[in-house]
Subunit: 118 residues, 2 copies
DNA sequence: ATAGTATATTCGAAAGATCGAATATTGTCA
DNA sequence: TGACAATATTCGATCTTTCGAATATACTAT
């Protein structure tokens, strides 16, 4: 039971575990885009984009709609956008603690100009 | 700038992209546990557990505290717990739409006992 | 110092992810 | 129909992840 849920979560994470796929999901945040539009906006190889879209489809992160010649993609559930937003905030909070750690280190050892030790 | 952020997000996702590591993070939800306690609760090989903990440490998902002989692990930031909670809800909502799709399919084709088409 | 316990790292094999090039599929329009 | 445009899939090379077995490190207690 919880086992199934854990497998599910890890599959979602795997689905998002690539910068290109994150970029795709972020572009789709405000509505659907065709594969071609994604390729253009991200400057991807056609095959590569299609492969990443296949990963997102397999994990049901994204949903497609065919319109004639084109295929429009959109996010299947807004929950994943929420997840990305949490991680954005998380990123900046980690960043600021890292910065203050660096600042503190600089105060303790004001002579050193490089961060390197040893 | 956004590039760095995307790389960061994908690294977090990679860090969580394994059922064992999710299980570890979930166990740590209510406070720290030693490596040995994690091994025991999850029934892992010692080396395997240590490797997964190394991944979580490398991604700064988890933080360690040495106490004598033992090493206690805890979650670095509660944000990640939030993420797991969102995915739990997401899982159940997907599950219920899947169930209703199946139910609908059964109503449309009541003769068929298998899900196979073609 | 030695033995014992807890944890981490290294190694090699197997499985999986990623990429671009090439090819296949599907739809449109003349 | 045939030519074209958009998207998907397959192939093979390369890189990464994962695992258990073996080994290393760090700490405690005698």
């Amino acid at each position: 039971m919880g086992d199934e849920l854990r497998r599910f979560k890890s599959e979602i994470f795997q689905g998002l575990a690539h910068p290109t796929r994150i970029a795709i999901v972020e572009l789709l945040r405000d509505g659907e885009l065709s594969a071609g539009q994604l390729i253009e906006k991200l400057g991807l190889e056609q095959a590569n984009a299609s492969q990443h879209l296949a990963v997102l489809r397999a994990r049901q992160i994204v949903v497609k709609r065919k319109a004639g010649n084109q295929v429009y993609y959109s996010i299947r559930d807004h929950a994943l956008i929420e997840v990305l937003d949490i991680l954005r905030r998380y990123f900046y909070s980690q960043l600021s603690t890292t910065v203050s750690l660096l600042r503190e280190a600089a105060r303790e050892a004001p002579r050193s100009r490089t961060g390197a030790h040893r």
